[in-house]
C-alpha cells in the first residue's frame, strides 16, 4: 500500500506563490503524470512529496502515514532529479548501488539489482565508467537506474527521459511502463511531452500557475478539457475555440443549429479538435463554410488553417484531399465531440 495524498499544499518562495493550494491523490500502483508549462510548479510539488522542500501549508500522506514532517530517507521514495544529480566521484556501478548499500542488502541482491536496473536502461557496458565520461543522456539513464534499483514504494521522476533522442525515448518509455506495472510501483512522473504523458499515464494531472486545473484519464483530458488552457496545452495542433453569439438559447454556425448548455450568456466558446471536423469540398447540409488560409502537408495528413468570420482555426484532412489556399470548404463538427466553454473564465460548462 503506497498511495500518495497531497492535501491543500501551498508553497511561497519569497513573494512568489509557486504552489497555490494543490491537492492530488495518486492511488496505490497508479501511474500519474504531471503535465504543465515550464515554471508551473511541477518540480516544487515533487520536491515537497519527496521531503526536500517544506510546504508552507497542507499535508502529505504516503500510504497511511502522514509524512509531512518526515525527512526524505524515512519516506520510502526514490526520486529522479531533473538535472540527474549522479555522484561524480562514484562509478556508474556504485551510483546505482548507492541506495542498496544504504539499505545494507546482501551482496548477491545488490549485484542482481544493479545489473537488472542497468540492463533495463541499456547501460550495462558503462558500469565501470565515471559520470564525467558519459553523455547527458547516459547520465540521465544512470539517474533512472539508481532510483529503480532500490525498488521503492513510490517513485518520483522529474522529466527522466528529457535528454534522450526520440527513438531511445520511445523504447525506454515502453520498458519503463512495463517494469513499473510489473513491480507495482506507485509513480508520479513529470514531463513536458504530452505524447509521453498520454502514452504512460493512468491519469494526467494538468498543472498551470501553481494549481492543478484538471485531473483525469488521458482520453478525457484530451477530449473533454476542463478549460481553454487545457484544450490549448494538450494536443498538437491544439483545440480550436470559436467565439459564437447565442440567440434565443441557440447558436448558429452556418447551416448548423446547435444547442448550448442552459447556463450560457450572450456569447459562448465552442471547442473542437482539428481532427473532429469533417471537411467537404462542396456545400453540405448541417455545415459551415470557411476559407482556406494555409495548407501544411505533415505526412500522415494535411493541416489546414481556415478562416471563419474573422477567426482562424485548424482542421486536418487526409493527405490526398484537394485543398488550396483561398478555396472555400464546408465543415461539419462531430456533434458528440463538441465542448462548450465560458468565454470570460475559460472554463468548460458541465456536460450533461
Amino acid at each position: 500500500m503506497a498511495s500518495i495524498r497531497v492535501e491543500n499544499v501551498e508553497k511561497t518562495f519569497g513573494r512568489f506563490k509557486a504552489l497555490n493550494g494543490v491537492s492530488l491523490e495518486v492511488r496505490d500502483q497508479e501511474f500519474v503524470v504531471l503535465l504543465g508549462p515550464s515554471g508551473c510548479g511541477k518540480t516544487t510539488l515533487l520536491r515537497i512529496i519527496a521531503g526536500l522542500e517544506q510546504a508552507d501549508k497542507g499535508r502529505v500522506w504516503i500510504g497511511d502515514r502522514d509524512v509531512t514532517l518526515l525527512p526524505p530517507r524515512a519516506r520510502r521514495i526514490a526520486m529522479v532529479f531533473q538535472n540527474y544529480a549522479v555522484f561524480p566521484h562514484l562509478t556508474v556501478y556504485e551510483n546505482i548501488a548507492f541506495g542498496l548499500r544504504m539499505q545494507k542488502v546482501s551482496p548477491e541482491k545488490l549485484k542482481a539489482n544493479v545489473e537488472r536496473a542497468a540492463a533495463l536502461m541499456h547501460i550495462e557496458n558503462l558500469l565501470g565508467r565515471y559520470p564525467a565520461q558519459l553523455s547527458g543522456g547516459q547520465r540521465q539513464r544512470v539517474a533512472v537506474a539508481r532510483a529503480l534499483a532500490v525498488e521503492p514504494e513510490v517513485l518520483l521522476m522529474d522529466e527522466p527521459l528529457s535528454n534522450l533522442d526520440a527513438l531511445l525515448r520511445l523504447e525506454m518509455r515502453a520498458e519503463l511502463k512495463r517494469l513499473l506495472a510489473e513491480s507495482r510501483t506507485t509513480t508520479l512522473y513529470v514531463t513536458h511531452d504530452q505524447v509521453e504523458a498520454m502514452s504512460l499515464a493512468d491519469r494526467i494531472a494538468v498543472m498551470n500557475a501553481g494549481a492543478i486545473v484538471q485531473y483525469d484519464t488521458p482520453m478525457r483530458v484530451y477530449q473533454e478539457p476542463a478549460s481553454v488552457f487545457v484544450g490549448g496545452f494538450i494536443g498538437s495542433p491544439p483545440m480550436n475555440f470559436l467565439r459564437l453569439r447565442v440567440e434565443g438559447q441557440r447558436v448558429r454556425l452556418g447551416s448548423l443549429d446547435l444547442e448550448p448548455p442552459a447556463e450560457v450568456g450572450a456569447e459562448v466558446l465552442l471547442g473542437v479538435r482539428p481532427e473532429d471536423l469533417e471537411v467537404y469540398p462542396a456545400e453540405q447540409p448541417q455545415s459551415f463554410a470557411a476559407q482556406v488560409l494555409v495548407v501544411e502537408p505533415l505526412g500522415p495528413h494535411l493541416l489546414l488553417t481556415l478562416n471563419f468570420a474573422g477567426q482562424a482555426f485548424k482542421a486536418t484532412v487526409p493527405p490526398d484531399f484537394p485543398a488550396a489556399a483561398g478555396q472555400t470548404l464546408w465543415l461539419r463538427p462531430q456533434p458528440s465531440r463538441l465542448r462548450w466553454l465560458e468565454p470570460g473564465s475559460g472554463r468548460a460548462f458541465a456536460t450533461g
Binding site: G51, L52, R73, M79, F81, F87, F98, M102
Partner: protein
C-alpha cells in the same frame, strides 16, 4: 601595441622585484662563508657548499624552534579546518538572516591590526595561563587563518551542487551520512588546500609569535629576536628556511587560491 609592451615591462619588473631577493637568499644559503661576506655579490651561486646551512642547524635553539613551529602550525591547521569548514558549509548551504553581513564581518577581522590587540591579548593570556605556550600561539594563528578557511571552504561547498546531497537523502542517508559519503569526497582536495594554507599562515607568522612567547619561540620569532646578534650566514640560511615551505605549499594549492580570489583557474 605600446600598451602591451608597457604591460610586459611592468610584469617583468614585478617578477624581478619578488624573485630577486628569494634568489639571492637561496644562492647565498648554499654558498660557502667567504662568498656570503663578499661584496659585490655575484649573481650566480659561487662555490656550492652546505657550510652555511649546517652552521645554521648547529646554532643553539634552532631545532627546538623548528619543532615548536611545526607543532603550532599543525594545531592551527587542525583548528582552522575543524572550525572553518562547518562555518563555510553553513554559509554555502543555508540562507539565514545576515548571511552577507556575516561574510563581510569575517573579512573585516583581517583588516583589524594585530598590533592594537597585542598588549591586551598578552595580558589576557597571562591571566589564562597560556602565555608562552604553543597552544596560545596556535589560537592566535587560528584566528588569523580562520577567515580564509571559512571563505575558501564556503566557495568550495557552493561548487558542490545541493542536489547531490538531496539525492543521497532520498536514497536513505541522513544529513551526516550524505555529507560523509557525497560531499566530503568531493570537497577533500579543497579542504586539503585550506589546511595547507592555514599551515603556511602559521609557519610565517612572526608578530604574535614574538609577543606571546619568551622561551617557546617559533622559528620566525626565534630568528627575529636573534637576528641582531647573529652572523650573516645564519640570517640567509634562516630566511631560506622560512621562505621555502611557504613557496612550495602556495604553489601546490595555487588553483584554490585563484578561485578564492575570483581569478579563472587553468
Amino acid at each position: 601595441m605600446n600598451l602591451r609592451r608597457l604591460y610586459m615591462v611592468l610584469a617583468v619588473l614585478l617578477v624581478v622585484w619578488v624573485l630577486l631577493p628569494i634568489f639571492l637568499i637561496a644562492t647565498l644559503a648554499f654558498s660557502d662563508r667567504p662568498s656570503v661576506f663578499a661584496w659585490p655579490k655575484g649573481l650566480l651561486p659561487q662555490q656550492f657548499s652546505l657550510e652555511t646551512i649546517s652552521f645554521f642547524f648547529g646554532v643553539e635553539g634552532v631545532w627546538r624552534a623548528i619543532r615548536n613551529s611545526l607543532a603550532v602550525a599543525a594545531m592551527t591547521l587542525v583548528f582552522s579546518v575543524l572550525l572553518g569548514a562547518p562555518a563555510g558549509y553553513a554559509l554555502a548551504r543555508y540562507r539565514f538572516a545576515g548571511a552577507d553581513a556575516y561574510r563581510l564581518l569575517i573579512l573585516m577581522t583581517r583588516a583589524f591590526p594585530l598590533a592594537i590587540l597585542a598588549i591586551p591579548l598578552a595580558v589576557r593570556f597571562i591571566q589564562l595561563g597560556i602565555y608562552d605556550t604553543l597552544l596560545g600561539v596556535a589560537l592566535v594563528h587560528t584566528a588569523l587563518a580562520l577567515p580564509f578557511a571559512v571563505l575558501v571552504t564556503s566557495s568550495l561547498f557552493l561548487s558542490i551542487p545541493k542536489e547531490l546531497e538531496e539525492a543521497a537523502w532520498t536514497l536513505g542517508c541522513n544529513r551526516l551520512q550524505a555529507f560523509l559519503r557525497v560531499v566530503l569526497p568531493l570537497a577533500l582536495p579543497g579542504l586539503a588546500a585550506t589546511a595547507i594554507f592555514a599551515f603556511v599562515i602559521s609557519w610565517n607568522e612572526v608578530f604574535a609569535a614574538t609577543l606571546l612567547t619568551l622561551r617557546e619561540r617559533t622559528l620566525p620569532a626565534f630568528l627575529l629576536t636573534s637576528l641582531n646578534d647573529s652572523p650573516l650566514p645564519f640570517r640567509f640560511a634562516g630566511g631560506f628556511f622560512l621562505i621555502v615551505p611557504a613557496l612550495v605549499f602556495i604553489f601546490v594549492i595555487r588553483r584554490y587560491l585563484f578561485t578564492l580570489w575570483g581569478i579563472a583557474s587553468r
